[in-house]
Amino acid sequence: MTANSSNFYQVGASLPVNAPSYVQRQADEEFYQKLQAGKFCYVLNSRQMGKSSLRVQTMQRLQKQGTVCAAIDLTGIGKVTEEQWYGGIVYNLSESCQLEDKFNFDWRVWWQKHQTILSPVQCLNQFIEKVLLAKIQQPIVIFVDEIDKVLSQDFSLDDFFALIRFFQNQRVDNSIFERLTFALLGVATPGDLITNKTQTPFNIGEAIELNGFKIDEVEPLIKGLQGRFNHPQKVMAEILDWTGGQPFLTQKLCQFMVSESEKDNPRSVKEIVKSRIIENWESQDNPEHLRTIRDRVLSSEQRAGYLLELYQQIQQQGEVAANNSVESSELRLSGLVVQRQGKLRVYNQVYQQVFNQNWVENQLNNLRPYSEAFRAWVASGYSDESRLLQGKALIDSEEWAKDKNLSFQDKQFLAASKEKEIAVRNQEAELERERKDREAAEKINLELSEANRKAKRRIRNGTVVLILALSFTAISSFVAANKVREASKTDEYLRTVEKLANLAGELEDEGSDSEAKELFSQAGQSVNIKNHQLRQAVLYAGISYAHQKLETKNLKEAQKYLELSQQQWKHLQQNNSNEASQIRVLSLKTQGNLFKEQEQPQQAIAEYKNAFEILNKLKEKGKRGERIAEISPAFNPNIQNKILSKQNLEALHREFIALLSKNGNKNLKSKVKESLTEHYLDELNNLLANKKWQEADNRTTRLMLFVANREECDVLDHDYLKNFSCKRLKDIDSLWVQHSNERFGFSVQKQIWKNTGNRLGINIQSWTEKDEDTYRSFVSRIGWYDGGLGRWQNYSDIMRRVEKDGLKSPVGILPIVGMVSEIRKKIPDIGRAVREDGSVVKYSRWSWFDWELREGQSSLVLRLVNCNV
């Protein structure tokens, strides 16, 4: 008998029950037997392997044995709501089991009744238990085909799978469930279908493996070739040799051979495979088969590279040990490879030739030119910067990426590469700039130090000249009355001043700047003292102090001059005048330091303590900014004869504190510290009143470091700011606000910080893009950042501006207290990040220092708020 070529074989779609070309395989028996035994089965396999045909055949066999079979094809349901989906299942079950025809059961009425009180999945549960199993007394197998369609719904169908497992588990308690079995068919892995491992039915079910046709199974196919070929078996064997028994290709090739047999000079199987399947396969592939495999392998750009590389290995090595990787199961699910005896192989020769070495290479080329670097980068957790592209590779990749729809990670990778490239370029430019700056700076330094030496000499001489000039004025007024006596006194004074100035100069040369400064000021100050003995006392004390501090420490000389000094003001011992008290303080300080140098700390402390107590008495209530405070004598405008300079007082405090740190009691030490703080506040007040903005900012910074005990570190980090003294914060702020007509000050900045929408006290881990945006508007508003140019202003820029514009500078620009750094100008605004949705955002690349500043600012404002400033 000769089969009709147009209907014997079937290419594509499932075969009808009575199809003559249906091939019984091992899986047929297995599937049938297991379902017959009531076992939950699933056939999860690649496309066009004959799943649905297997279902159709198995249903028929089971039905013959009295089993009721229901079939649900999920393709038909479409995209629906959860209620509609479960409704659709019940509808399909009712139809399949002919409940309406046989039992006059109207599922719609039943469903409507139950729908209102039960969840959809509970409804299905009830329907199966109370209706299906009650009305039908035979075993029931429910086939669900195209099960992977559950993935295209908007809701999770985990409950559905859990229900299948539930029925299975119920068998122990309720024997009616022994009559109920499910069979699922589709193109997916169990893991794709259900995420919850505890609810999955797949681990208690039976996987049915669907293999290609084997030579001893294909008797039905050979029938179609009979009468057309002399050796149909041989033709069949050749066909299987090409198709590996893949059902779709085998049917297709059989059909081709049949039509070929009707020609005058029929070609061989090999020739047919070449000309009708492999050559120009993309246009000949109808119904679609090879294109489906191709699309499945390439569908995800992200995964395609991995799949192709695994496939390439398999192709080159012939076989590769199978593992449980996603790639190997994806590749098997595409149908391209098959697993046999733990090895992955290319399914058949047709695929081998269609998806050949060239094809793989072309696809890999199409994929990404940077796959290796990319994967290594991903594997490093996106941190291995050495994997990023540079130079030509980057340019090529960007060119390649132009018309591609890239994955998120790819975009990240390219963006990161670009970012790094720009950073490197900027860094190089920066290094170049730095080198030039450094050279320039070195040159300037050289000139400066020369100038400095000269300048120092001039200052020293200048002091002397100044003193002389002043003294001669004084002398000329005295000459008439008591020429000789006064002249000799003046002469003595001038010689003493010169001696002190020279010693101070020596100290300066030795690098003891603050001591030198103190002594220069002491010398200068003495001019204001009218009483000869008193001014001599001040100068002698200075000379004594110099001998204590010089490297060639001469304590004998120091002792001598201190005694000389004391002799000069002996007559004032009982005097409580302001002048006397001041000289007493100076003397005690000098004595104290001498004791210290003589390593007699307790005596030293006693002297300092004495000095400190007298100093406290010297303080007078007065206005500091808007508030009334105990004003340090160095800044008290009411004291005309200032003997103690601000340097004297600062030194007094610091020396005393140093002593107390080693030997003294804490209580006293903190009192001294408070006193020094007050002194500094006076100084700040003075600077602000005189509009010395930069010095005031400098003073503020140092004051804050002092208050927070952070002078050695020179950094106020956010932890310290968070706990900064409220009282001192208020003191500082009120001075700034008052002297700037409310233009400068922390409280002014705080208000702007809040107005620009910034958060308080955030640390950098929680710093978001929004925080960065608001921070940028804050710093733009107060003039630290040029929003237009996208550029940080550095400290000297800002100070130049304030010196120029004074109180017309931006509101809130001061104080800066280290919140703007010279470092900032070196930080290019080049960072780019790619969001999930693919859009690109800019951020600046911060150094740790920048983070510190941001955190610091945020903490400072938090503290201001908490302190109610």
Binding site: L15, P16, G87
Partner: protein, 341 residues
């Protein structure tokens, strides 16, 4: 010889100017008689898809089947953009055409079922179960639906599931589905969950030399005339263009010579046809389509185009394609579009 017939729309069933192609018709008729048959006709415009589809229905009716022709090209956009509306429209339309009661409003309940299941249930209960005979359902110009992602996947998925039901269900064995379309399916659709990877595919080819001669003879034109060869060079085996020329010659409105000389001009017999193609081209949403065609007609070799542009030009019947290379469909098109673009 029968009286002449101006080629306008599908060729009437009794027309002697309908040429049967090599076994295409017999394959279709044979397939039609199989349970749950599915026939897919694919060819560009004016190739005779509708004429073939109507003949398939006629063949069905001969077998005492019910027949139903639905042109999706004429459905309102409003209907096409909503799955539920579209399926209701389909069920109503089929009920009315088959003189069945329209039960759509009673039967449809989306609180219970999705639109697809409603439609499936309706077809089964109120259509297939009512007519007691196979139903030949022709859906012409299904490519009209391709751009509407709202309905495409679900609708075609449903058609596939109907076809699959026919493997086991007696009711669904009665449905004989014929789909006709001009374009490739360019939408991202799982072929395996659509009818496009099942059933019997039918491609309509151009007429070959023998068929052209046959057609000439039917028009009373000397099939040995050398000018006939020239006509073939001009319009290829294009069924519509051939018939248009043969009609004018046979009715002595023009001569072969004049016709050929003026063919590509505004005065020629193809001017309406050419102008309408030009209009379609110019009103296409893809502005580059004109450029693409220009490239094709100006090149002697095949041109490589974007696949979407290939689909569009091919479905208009303007180009032929070999792999990804495209050439003008015929000399007439090359000359005309060379001139006007």
């Amino acid at each position: 010889m029968q009286s002449l017939e101006y080629p306008d729309g599908s060729v009437p069933l009794d027309s002697s100017f309908y040429l049967e192609r090599n076994e295409v018709e017999s394959l279709c008729y044979q397939t039609l008689k199989k349970p749950a048959a599915l026939i897919r006709i694919k060819a560009p415009k004016l190739m005779g898809k509708t004429s073939l589809a109507k003949r398939i229905i006629a063949e069905g009716i001969k077998q005492n089947y019910q027949g139903m022709y639905l042109d999706l090209g004429s459905v309102n956009k409003e209907v096409i953009t909503n799955l539920d509306k579209f399926l209701r429209w389909l069920c109503s339309k089929v009920s009315l055409e088959l003189n069945l009661n329209n039960q759509v409003d009673n039967a449809w309940d989306t609180t219970l079922l999705g639109s697809n299941d409603n439609c499936t249930d309706y077809f089964k209960k109120y259509i297939l179960n009512q007519i007691n005979s196979p139903l030949v359902l022709v859906l012409d110009e299904v490519d009209r639906l391709f751009p509407y992602s709202e309905i495409v996947e679900d609708f075609f998925g449903m058609l596939r599931s109907w076809h699959e039901k026919g493997k086991t269900s007696d009711t669904w064995k009665q449905l004989r589905l014929v789909l006709a379309h001009a374009t490739e399916i360019y939408i991202p659709l799982d072929y395996h969950q659509s009818p496009f990877n099942a059933g019997v595919p039918v491609d309509l080819e151009e007429f070959n030399q023998k068929q052209v001669k046959d057609l000439a003879t039917r028009h009373g034109i000397n099939s040995q005339d050398n000018l006939l060869k020239e006509l073939r060079t001009m319009v290829g085996g294009h069924p519509y263009l051939l018939r248009l020329a043969m009609y004018d010659i046979a009715s002595e409105k023009t001569t072969f010579k004049d016709l050929l000389e003026s063919a590509t001009t505004e005065a020629g017999i193809y001017s309406n046809h050419l102008r309408s193609l030009l209009d379609i081209l110019r009103s296409a949403s893809d502005l580059d389509l004109v450029q693409a065609l220009k490239q094709v007609v100006n090149s002697n070799a095949g041109v490589e185009l974007d696949s979407m542009q290939i689909y569009k030009l091919h479905s208009l019947g303007m180009v032929v394609r070999k792999n990804n290379h495209v050439t003008p469909r015929c000399q007439l098109y090359r000359e005309y579009f060379c001139r006007v673009l």
